[in-house]
């Protein structure tokens, strides 16, 4: 996209609210918000309540995954004779202020769900406004897995980067980069100053500054190597998996996890038997097939009706989960690991076997 790389698409703005209000004329706004318990979550704004909680210094507990790959949705319905596709009813939404890690995850899922009509129907109506992180977050290690801290190229329609801040006047200067046609169109009609090379240079300096503020996460890179060498002993998976309660907290919060199951919602009617010998049966007249997020860490995830379960042991399930996140085998397909370094699994795991705990154990055990 030569046009998008043009300096004309690199602009400056002082007040992000102005930008957001402009975009909100065409898109319903989804952004990070605190719920009643103070938990920061991705939420769709209703009305004109647009209090910003921008992503540059807040990593919310949830990723915006559910706005693209719905937590629960109807796939098709049956009317007694035929099946009818039920695609989601969508309206244009802007995900405003998405961090680099979550954008890398969306790019990953865009590939995985490339041919999924439900995902793509939502995706084509979504505008992604990314935001550069200004400091490392509590559990984040995006630098180790090439997902941040600044928004990666071609993962957002618009990228916001705060170049300077004057605390006393609450004045900030933001660089706005439109990376796609959709991004360019979303700011059409706004009178914004053009940025120049000095602003881009400033962004690169800020990137180096944030990068340097990350603590030493080399155990993660080491553990990735050990995982791919196949040198993690089975015994370690056994020890780690004792702590897995199969709660699905990690898989639900993981922005790249995509496994789903299906279930049926039915409307039944009693069929009157033709004779006394016929048994009364409930006939399904209408049903809907619904898909919902599933978790490969559930014991029954692979269990077949016969009872055969290829991943009966928790150790197998835990190992496969980390294999899916860090195996080189997935690089040809996705050009990156399945982990984007958000650290949410560490934050949520009640058994303390999130990414940091697991990778630290692997590094300690395998380096000896």
């Amino acid at each position: 996209m030569t046009e998008a790389n043009n300096m004309a698409n690199k602009l400056l703005i002082n007040d992000l609210d102005v930008l957001k209000h402009h975009i909100a004329k065409f898109y319903s706004v989804v952004q990070i918000q605190k719920d009643v318990n103070g938990q920061e979550l991705w939420t769709e704004q209703l009305g004109d309540k647009l209090d910003p909680l921008f992503g540059h210094n807040h990593l919310p507990l949830t990723s915006p995954k559910g706005f693209l790959f719905a937590e629960k949705e109807v796939l098709y319905k049956f009317d007694g004779e035929t099946f009818e596709t039920i695609l989601p009813r969508v309206h244009p939404k802007v995900l405003f202020g998405v961090q680099a890690c979550d954008l890398s995850a969306i790019a990953y899922q865009d590939k995985f769900f490339e041919h999924d009509p439900y995902y793509q129907k939502r995706r084509e109506h979504i505008l992604l406004v990314g935001i550069d992180c200004e400091s490392p977050c509590a559990n984040g290690f995006c630098v180790q897995v090439d997902a941040g801290p600044h928004v990666k190229d071609n993962t957002a329609d618009l990228v916001l980067s705060r170049l300077s801040v004057d605390e006393t006047n609450e004045f900030s200067e933001w660089l706005v980069i439109a990376q796609t046609e959709k991004g360019i169109n979303s700011i059409k009609g706004m009178m914004l100053d053009k940025a120049d090379n000095k602003h881009l240079k400033r962004r690169r300096e800020l990137f180096e500054k944030v990068r340097s503020e990350f603590v030493d996460y080399s155990y993660i890179s080491n553990a990735i190597e050990y995982l791919n060498d196949n040198s993690v002993p089975a015994q370690l998976w056994e020890e780690l998996s004792v702590r897995c309660m199969g709660c699905s907290g990690c898989t639900n919060l993981c922005p790249t996890c995509s496994c789903y199951s299906t279930y049926e919602v039915v409307e039944k009617k009693t069929v009157t038997p033709a004779s006394i010998s016929n048994e009364v049966k409930l006939e399904v007249t209408h049903s809907e097939t619904i898909r919902c997020w599933d978790s490969c860490l559930f014991e029954g995830f692979q269990k077949e009706a016969s009872g055969h379960n290829p991943s009966q042991k928790a150790a197998q399930r835990v190992e496969r989960f980390w294999f899916h996140k860090f195996s080189d085998e997935y690089l040809p397909e996705f050009q990156r690991y399945g982990c984007v370094g958000c650290g949410r699994c560490e934050q949520t795991c009640p058994g303390s076997i999130g990414v940091h705990s697991v990778m630290k154990r692997i590094d300690q055990q395998c380096c000896n």
């Binding site: 099946f83 002993p233 496994c259 279930y263 899916h324």
Partner: protein
């Protein structure tokens, strides 16, 4: 875009075929199979009110689009299928996955080792080889739990006149025809005149692994052994994630795997048990 919504099929025939197993014939309703179906591929059956699951074709669609499937009553979905009869409608998506390497098999000495209802996924291959004039070079070793649980009675009767059919029962078999299939492999593999070039196996996973291991011990190459595995599935198109084998999905790269490829996949992770000793017929 993928089509996850099923098309409608109607049950036009059904009969009992082994303990808790029935053989169904389906007819497409309002659609034609728009892509050719390879032997050994599978389809997803949607049972309104119960869900969806993968099944194999015991015979692939004929000119009228009709096809057959053997279904065992083993869970809540198949229980629902067993409550249905002629005229009832179900949902169909397919074909999916990779079938048997029929191009490699034709005109070679083939040993097929099937266990229990694992006979269903190889049935079309046997018919294909007979039709192609290769029946003299086909040996079928069919193992099941007991006489009642043997499936595909009509097909076996038909095959017995043309291929070398050897049956064994774990319980109730007469002498020389009882026990596990692995007991007979040395006999079948050592015959000088009919030493198999290729082995196809389908049955409980532990059985297939045991069969493959015995074949290796008896001098066959790992790359000449093929297996068809069973996995839970919720889509058939590589999205739901349930049917993983390391980084492959059985619905796309399988369900037919070459034994050495399957072992290489299993070896990518360490906590998965390899070559379990015991198996049960489903």
């Amino acid at each position: 875009m993928l089509q996850l919504t099923p098309q409608t099929i109607r049950i036009i025939d059904v009969y009992d075929d082994g303990t808790h197993a029935r053989h169904f014939t389906f007819e497409p309703k309002g659609f034609v199979h728009d892509e050719p179906i390879s032997i050994g591929q599978f389809f997803m059956l949607t049972v309104p009110g119960a869900g969806l699951a993968p099944f194999t074709y015991t015979s692939i669609p004929d000119k009228t689009g009709r096809f057959k499937a053997l279904i065992r009553n083993v869970g809540h979905l198949t229980k629902k299928v067993f409550s249905l009869g002629k005229g009832d409608v179900l949902g169909y998506n397919g074909p999916f996955g990779r079938g048997w390497p029929v191009g490699l098999v034709m005109h070679k000495e083939v040993l097929i080792v099937a266990g229990g209802c694992g006979l269903a996924p190889v049935a079309s291959t046997i018919d294909y080889l007979i039709k192609g004039g290769s029946s003299n070079s086909v040996t079928l070793l069919y193992a099941s739990f007991d006489i009642a649980s043997q499936v595909l009675k009509k097909e076996r009767a038909r095959w017995s006149s043309s291929i070398n059919l050897f049956e064994t029962l774990e319980v109730g078999g007469v002498s020389g025809r009882s026990g596990l299939p692995t007991q007979y492999l040395s006999h079948l593999l050592n015959k000088n005149d009919r030493h198999p070039d290729i082995v196809l196996t389908c049955g409980p996973e532990a059985m297939m692994m045991a069969v493959a291991k015995s074949c290796l011990d008896l001098g066959l190459k790992a790359s000449d052994i093929w297996m068809s595995i069973e996995r839970r599935m919720r889509c058939g198109v590589g999205l739901c994630g349930h049917c993983y084998v390391a980084n492959s999905f059985a619905c796309k790269q399988g369900p037919t795997y070459r034994y050495d490829e399957f072992v290489a996949l299993e070896n990518k992770t360490v906590a998965f048990e390899k070559h379990q000793g015991l198996f049960q017929y489903c």
